[in-house]
């Protein structure tokens, strides 16, 4: 399992197009995504918002990690090695501790059936790849109530 912490994120990056915005420091996002480059872009995007991002590269340990870390939001890829995003979501919803946790699903395939299943399993929001950075950040902020 690959675990990357974003604690070393350069907070100086809170500038540029976001100048003047008050960064909401302290939110913790757990990202479960097997594409390292997408994960890195997301870490940067949310890091710039002042968030802490933990990345997990496969689905096997995800559930236990989420339960242990109690993040503010889980960003979950639908297609993962080890364990599918749908299975993880179902497990999270079945556990009272994580039942109400905001979950954003990243979907890459032709949506359809998988998306329907994830909707029923209780995903809060879907983000179809490829996504726009602004939309992604706005959605994440909305989900944690910023």
């Amino acid at each position: 399992m690959r675990q990357v912490s974003a604690d070393s994120f350069p907070q100086k990056a809170i500038h540029g197009p976001h100048q003047g915005r008050i960064a909401t420091v302290g939110h913790h996002a757990m990202l479960i995504e097997d594409e390292p480059n997408i994960a890195e872009a997301i870490r940067f995007l949310l890091g710039r918002e002042g968030w802490r991002v933990t990345t997990l590269g496969d689905g096997l340990a995800a559930e236990a990690e989420v339960r242990a870390a109690r993040p503010d939001i889980v960003i979950l890829d639908l297609m993962l090695p080890g364990r599918s995003g749908l299975e993880i979501l179902t497990a999270l919803r079945a556990d009272p501790v994580t039942a109400a946790l905001p979950v954003m699903m990243l979907t890459a395939r032709g949506q359809g059936r998988d998306r329907e299943a994830a909707e029923q399993a209780g995903a809060d929001l879907f983000m179809a790849k490829p996504f726009s950075n602004a939309e992604f950040v706005a959605a994440a902020r909305a989900l944690v109530g910023v």
């Binding site: 872009a41 995007l45 710039r48 032709g110 490829p130």
Partner: protein
Amino acid sequence: MALNAPTGSRVRERRQALGLRQAEVARAAGISASYLNLIEHNRRRVAGEVLARLASALGIEALALEEGAEGALAETLRAAAGETEGLAELDRLEEFIGRYPGWAQVTAGLHRRAGQLEQAVAALNDRLAHDPHLSLALHEVLSAVSSVRSTAAILAETEDIEPDWRARFHANLHHDSERLATGAEALVAYLDGSDSESAAGLATPQEELDDWLAARGWHLPELEEGASDLSGPDLSGLATAAARSLAAGWLAEMRRDAQTLPLAAMQAALAACGPDPLRIAARTGANVLAVMRRLALLPGAEAGLVICDASGALLFRKPAPGFAPPRSGAACALWPLYAALARPMTPSAARIEMAGRNGLRLQAFAWGEASYPQGLGGVELRQAAMMVTPIGRGETTEIRVGASCRICPLSDCPARREPSIVTDRPDLRG
């Protein structure tokens, strides 16, 4: 009997085509000219004896006057009307056909075309949803595109990005662009083969091989004993390496069959035993499956042949008149093929009727065997084959079967596993 209004019109048409006058025809048919006039204007029904006499006077079959080419046309138009939930005036169908024969043909033609396109769309849809190569290639490309989009946007929109991050993102972009190039190449190579394909598009290696064999009439003289060219058939007509490798395996088996059962021996056995694979196998000592392959692939053989493995997946499909095995996906569960698969070394024979408008009848014979290529303690493999031979329309049949559920119109089939796209019941529509 259906409304026979247009029968009168057909009588008139036929009479005028022959250049006969009403009086002449009426006299020949033993009716009055005024009565014939009423019939011709569809004001009197005509049937039975009078119709038969008119038909004879006009030198035509009574049935042709009664139904004409419009029988099938009416059927098609009724089906078209059924799909539009009561919009069409069904009670005036005959009048429509009678008054606007051209428009009726156009409508029926459009309906048939829509049906064909629906099938093509369903086939394509099945491919997109079930083809693992395609979905993998697409997923790869989508993932790379997502990464490129986010990363490029970050680089473009973040003015004072840290050099460390910038370097990392540049490296990621580079890496993803390579992935994209490879992924796009794989997709193009994969989709390229579809150029030569018909509406069904995107051939699998299996279909490519089937098409290649079909183009050769399902018989390869190069494999027969005494063939002058020992290099065997030229496989360069197959576009993909996967199809060529599949073909090589299949051809090796065909060559073995040709050695075990040379053409002359097959002809002699056929003459002595008839097309009974069990008797031919008993006479020649050859394996029943080999006999079936040989029978169905003799030069000019009309019989169709399907072969499946233990999972039921079709490994080989040779169509026969009225028998079109599905090009992809699972076949009809009622085929005797699957009974033979479940009961190896026991013949399963049945006279089957293919569901559908034409309802062609076929004699099916199926046989299954188990094999143990790894010997004792190894895995068990199974293979079953089914040969189908067209039989006359008058023959009784034991069971109605389809090709595959998606395109099968049998609405009350106990073996149905998914809704059909051709059923007339909208609630079952896929």
